[in-house]
């Protein structure tokens, strides 16, 4: 934020007692000794209260004079009478000051210059989050890289941040936020998580030890088309923004589009509903890109997909009541994770399998990832329990992210210590 020093000084004065309404800044370029003399005379006339921004130096050097309103007439008369030509550089100094003030306020709302000045306590637009990602990478080039795993229906890039201290295809943790676009606290938490990972690494604490042996992949805006739509048009938009032939309405529920019990009860075949599963599994590029990534990587050991609201920690299955083989371990791990989460602010979470804890859901993310062999597959439903629902006040972003992070660490540490 560059502010001309002179104007800054004027602003400082202006905020006290003085106003510069009607003041003008005149420029004279003396081309003769006579003109130079006229200008030097002006300097001596104290009662005019002239403020020489550029004092007379020599022939050809511009002289800039701030002239208070009451002195304008006599000064101009003096110059004209002597045949000294002048130009008006600033027509009204106060107007310029006001505009500068407005600009300063505006620019403080523009993109921050570092992740240290980024406002984690506010909701951001897609552009702001994408800019944040680039800043984080630039500040931590040895830890963070940005991968484009595909493009959305509306051709927005799908970005995943990779946190890695080296190695080759290390066992990894995957975290995604914002797959349902109206769940704003999740993307906001994802941004906080990204910064937290970089910070921990820099300070050699927290997840730094996990990063010794594992990589972390974080997709902050998993549904960018939907997210943009929640900003521009409909704050309550949940799905993607795809239009398939034969569908009357727009959008597919990305959490019903996975190839696990696809199309069964627990999703809808009507494109106009919020749980429309889509024409076929992975029809949504937002989903397919993750499927392709997971398959190509082949070494993901924990997969966490984050939603809001309800305050729940869920493990598979959603599409069937048959318990997963690892039910007991996942249940115990959930208990530990929830205890860690609650320890911070006392936030109450319930946990269990999707179908027993929330409702039957087919084609859900973690059912597919579990069936791919990723044992530690979890879904979070973050704050709150319905008072604000999707419209969670921004003041709760950081506390939500902080407490959730504790639970995520429990899961990551368990995955690190229980290799399979």
């Amino acid at each position: 934020m560059r502010v001309p020093v002179l104007l800054a000084a004027l602003v400082a004065v202006a905020t006290c007692t003085e106003t510069f309404v009607g003041h003008q800044v005149l420029r004279v370029v003396p081309t003769s000794h006579e003109e130079l003399q006229r200008l030097q005379e002006l300097q001596g006339l104290e009662h005019l209260k002239l403020d020489f921004w550029l004092a007379p130096r020599g022939l050809g050097s511009p002289v800039d004079i701030r002239v208070p309103f009451p002195s304008l007439q006599p000064v101009k008369a003096h110059l004209e009478a002597s045949g000294v030509s002048y130009s008006i550089m600033i027509e009204d100094v106060q107007e310029l000051l006001d505009e500068e003030q407005r600009e300063m306020i505006r620019s403080s709302r523009r993109l921050p210059l570092s992740t240290s000045t980024f406002n984690y306590e506010a909701y951001h637009t897609l552009d702001e989050i994408y800019a944040f990602m680039d800043l984080l990478v630039a500040e931590n080039p040895n830890l963070v890289s940005k991968l484009e795993i595909g493009r959305s229906t509306e051709n927005r890039p799908l970005y995943v941040l990779k946190f890695s201290t080296g190695g080759s295809n290390r066992p990894a943790v995957w975290i995604d936020t914002g797959i349902h676009s109206r769940e704003w606290v999740t993307q906001a938490s994802g941004v906080w998580f990204a910064k937290k990972i970089a910070e921990d690494h820099a300070n050699n604490e927290g997840v730094a030890s996990i990063l010794d042996t594992m990589d972390i992949f974080l997709e902050i805006v998993t549904n960018p088309d939907g997210f943009a739509y929640t900003h521009s048009t409909n704050r309550m938009w949940r799905k993607t923004r795809s239009k398939h032939s034969g569908s009357i309405c727009v959008g597919v529920d990305p959490n019903r589009n996975w190839d696990a019990g696809f199309g069964g009860s627990g999703a809808s075949g009507n494109s106009c509903t919020e749980t429309y599963h889509g024409p076929y599994p992975n029809s949504e590029p937002e989903v397919k890109s993750i499927v392709d990534f997971v398959k190509a990587h082949g070494n993901i050991k924990a997969f966490v997909s984050i939603h809001s609201y309800s305050q729940l920690l869920l493990y598979p299955y959603g599409y069937t009541t048959t318990p997963v083989p690892d039910q007991q371990e996942l249940h115990e791990l959930s208990a530990k994770a929830v205890a860690a989460l609650s320890s911070l602010y006392g936030t109450n979470y319930k946990y269990g399998s999707i179908i027993t804890t929330i409702y039957k859901a087919s084609g859900a993310t973690i059912d597919w990832t579990y069936n791919q062999g990723i044992k530690y597959s979890f879904t979070f439903e973050l704050r709150d329990t319905g008072r604000y629902g999707f419209l969670l006040p921004a003041t709760q972003i950081v506390p939500t992210a902080e407490e959730t992070w504790l639970a995520l660490k429990v899961i990551m540490e368990h995955a690190r210590d229980n290799t399979y």
Partner: protein, 197 residues
């Protein structure tokens, strides 16, 4: 209960919607005959506040609304960022109370609701002492995840129960894309159910 339906035994605590303070606890039984609504409900609650306190608070809310010189109007409460303008809090509070009656009527054994947002509120000034508001509210339906738009007309006089009339859009936003409307505010919300208030 074989051949009859399902009976639920509930024990739960309540909290003040504004402050989050504990407001008491309740014991209830809910009987759904073969998944038909409405269920048969018996409920007993203990309140942390006594009648006088409640009455006082009601009166304060009432006065706060009556003192406004202009009719209260607003939209998107809370806004996208979860903010509620202090001046609109009373209108929002009444919307919460009124919506609960809509949700009570609409919910079934399998379908429940939350108040997602007050899309619009408009106060109707009356010659008598009764407070009257017109609302469009968005109800978040579970497990369908749908946003149901409801028109709600609410009247209130302290010391009397809230009177609520509502009409919810039943169509599944099939018109949404065509008419360019937003979240499920279907065009056909013109009729009011029932007689005079």
């Amino acid at each position: 209960i074989p051949d009859f339906g399902h009976k639920y035994y509930l024990q739960f605590s309540t909290e003040d919607y504004r402050t989050g303070e504990n407001a008491g606890s309740c014991l209830a039984t809910v009987l759904y005959p073969r998944k038909k609504s409405p269920p048969v409900v018996s409920i007993k609650c203990s309140h942390t506040k006594d009648q006088n306190e409640i009455q006082e608070e009601d009166n304060r809310l009432y006065q706060r609304i009556r003192q406004q010189s202009k009719p209260i109007t607003g939209s998107n409460i809370p806004d996208s960022y979860g903010n509620i303008e202090p001046a609109l809090e009373p209108a929002w509070a009444l919307a919460v109370a009124g919506s609960s009656s809509i949700m009570w009527e609409k919910s079934t054994e399998d379908v429940g609701y939350f108040l997602a947002q007050v899309k619009s509120v408009k106060q109707w000034m009356r010659k008598d002492d009764v407070i009257e508001f017109d609302y469009t509210v968005l109800l978040h339906e579970m497990p369908t995840q749908e946003m149901i738009s409801c028109h709600m007309r609410l009247t209130w006089l302290p010391g009397h129960p809230l009177k609520v009339k509502h009409f919810c859009a039943s169509e599944n936003r099939r018109l949404e894309e065509g008419s360019g409307l937003g979240s499920g505010s279907a065009a056909g919300l013109s009729e009011e159910r029932g007689a005079n208030l």
